[in-house]
């Protein structure tokens, strides 16, 4: 297979601004998502993900503007997630310039939303985001959480992944709540378990702290690797991650 493994930076955006610490040199405006997306594009990012962490409807309107401005200046795919509740939300994001849309809690509350989005726009636009925690309560050992990992649901993460694919999810973004913020590497068992259950691409997220952490996630079955803070705080560049992957024998762009 000659498909390259994708390296994806993720930006948390609210009210048109990047809300997590960004520490880049020579940026005119480190809080401008468009400027940052362009910087990552120049570094060789294969895709950019915006996570809209907006709390209010007013702020949400600015997100569409950010998406539009980014799509007009950054010629790589753009995925936007956070707060997507209906096919109308998806239509508006795609119309603003998003290529793929991430859906999380709204699909947990009402799984038919996955079918509706896939039927109208095709499976390839729909990224199902899963915030996953290890738990003995689930048969697979992994349970789906909401509210940034603070609330456990009754959903077995692997069973939910299977169901969502059946309903039309075109990609899975698997974020380990346990690994997130630890900087000790991706949850490789989680990646492998999702890979084994998934016929669609799997994006691994949560836990990256060093360039050496990415290749094991790919070996565990990830088609793409996503990280946020390690890129934003300038610890490593997209290029450095790609060189590390290439040195480990992983095909990159």
């Amino acid at each position: 297979m000659t498909l390259a493994v994708r390296v994806i930076p993720c930006l948390d955006v609210a009210g048109g601004r990047v809300v997590k610490g960004v520490n880049f040199q020579n940026l005119r405006d480190a809080g401008d998502p468009v400027e940052l997306a362009r910087r990552y594009f120049e570094q060789g990012a294969d895709e950019v993900t915006f996570l809209d962490v907006t709390a209010t409807v007013d702020e949400r309107a600015t997100t569409y503007e950010v998406v539009r401005a980014t799509a007009e200046q950054v010629f790589i795919p753009l995925t936007v997630g956070g707060g997507v509740r209906s096919t109308e939300d998806v239509a508006r994001l795609l119309g603003s310039g998003a290529d793929k849309v991430g859906v999380n809690s709204a699909a947990i509350a009402r799984p038919a939303l996955v079918d509706e989005i896939a039927d109208r726009f095709g499976a390839q636009v729909l990224v199902l985001s899963l915030d996953v925690k290890r738990s003995p309560r689930a048969a697979s050992g992994f349970v789906v959480t909401t509210h940034g990992g603070r609330r456990e649901t009754d959903l077995d993460a692997i069973a939910w992944a299977r169901e969502a694919i059946e309903r039309g999810a075109g990609e899975l973004l698997v974020n380990s709540i346990d690994a997130d913020g630890t900087r000790s590497g991706f949850d490789l068992e989680l990646v492998a378990a999702v890979r084994a259950a998934s016929s669609v691409p799997v994006v691994a997220s949560g836990g990256a702290g060093a360039v050496e952490h990415f290749a094991p996630a790919v070996r565990a079955g990830a088609d793409a690797v996503l990280a946020a803070s390690v890129f934003h705080n300038g610890e490593m560049t997209i290029g450095e991650v790609k060189r590390s992957l290439a040195a480990a024998g992983v095909t990159t762009r």
Binding site: L3, D46, F75, I76, P77, Q124, G170, S199, V200
Partner: protein
């Protein structure tokens, strides 16, 4: 730039499908004077017409027919005027699309069907290599680059042969599980299964190659 010093005019056909802003801006970056419109007269007049397309084959065909897009494309081609289809905008140029067991008639500019990719992981999402022919105009200078694909379906056979004085169609293949058509250059009608407008600098270069020929 044309002989008269004017940038070639390109209409990106606006018929309510997916993300078209990137296509407009990427074509501008590639040197075209771009207009986004669903107006048939404008689409007929432009030096080049780009037909984007995202979503299900049947939905895209339905939306295209609502603006009589097939007629515009057919008339342009009859007059030798360039058309570029992108993603599902390429797929609908074939005779038929088969999605989830549903068969939908395409525009039939090219024979054959568009069907599900046979691969362990579908959709095919990401940056892949292509095999472009030596005489390809689109891939001049970028044949070794990777391009961004996001699709589950593709044309996997080509049955149209060159005949008489017509130049042979230039076919570019890619592989995901099995071989499929990544691009076709057939007289005034060209198409790419990948998204040049999402393929970074290589994609802009490819669009520039098309724009220069207008």
């Amino acid at each position: 730039m044309r002989a008269d010093g004017r940038a070639p005019s390109v209409v990106v056909l606006d018929y309510g499908t997916g993300n078209v802003h990137s296509a407009v801006k990427a074509l501008e970056a590639a040197g075209a004077d771009v207009e986004l419109t669903g107006d048939r007269a404008r689409a007929m007049e432009a030096d080049g017409l780009v037909v984007p397309g995202v979503g299900a084959f049947a939905a895209v065909m339905g939306a295209l027919e609502a603006v009589r897009g097939g007629e515009v494309i057919g008339r342009r081609l009859a007059g030798g005027r360039p058309v570029l289809g992108i993603c599902v905008g390429m797929q609908v140029l074939f005779e038929e699309g088969v999605e989830r067991g549903q068969r939908t008639r395409g525009l039939g500019e090219w024979p054959g069907e568009v069907r599900l990719l046979e691969a362990p992981v579908v959709p095919h999402i990401g940056w892949n290599t292509v095999e472009a022919p030596e005489d390809s105009v689109l891939f001049e200078g970028v044949r070794d680059e990777r391009f961004y694909f996001v699709h589950s379906y593709a044309a996997q056979d080509w049955t149209l042969e060159a005949s008489g004085r017509r130049a042979a169609p230039r076919l570019t293949w890619a592989e995901h599980g099995s071989r499929f058509l990544a691009a076709v250059e057939n007289g005034p009608l060209s198409a790419t299964q990948f998204h040049p407008e999402k393929s970074g600098h290589a994609g802009i270069r490819l669009l520039g190659n098309w724009v220069r020929g207008l």
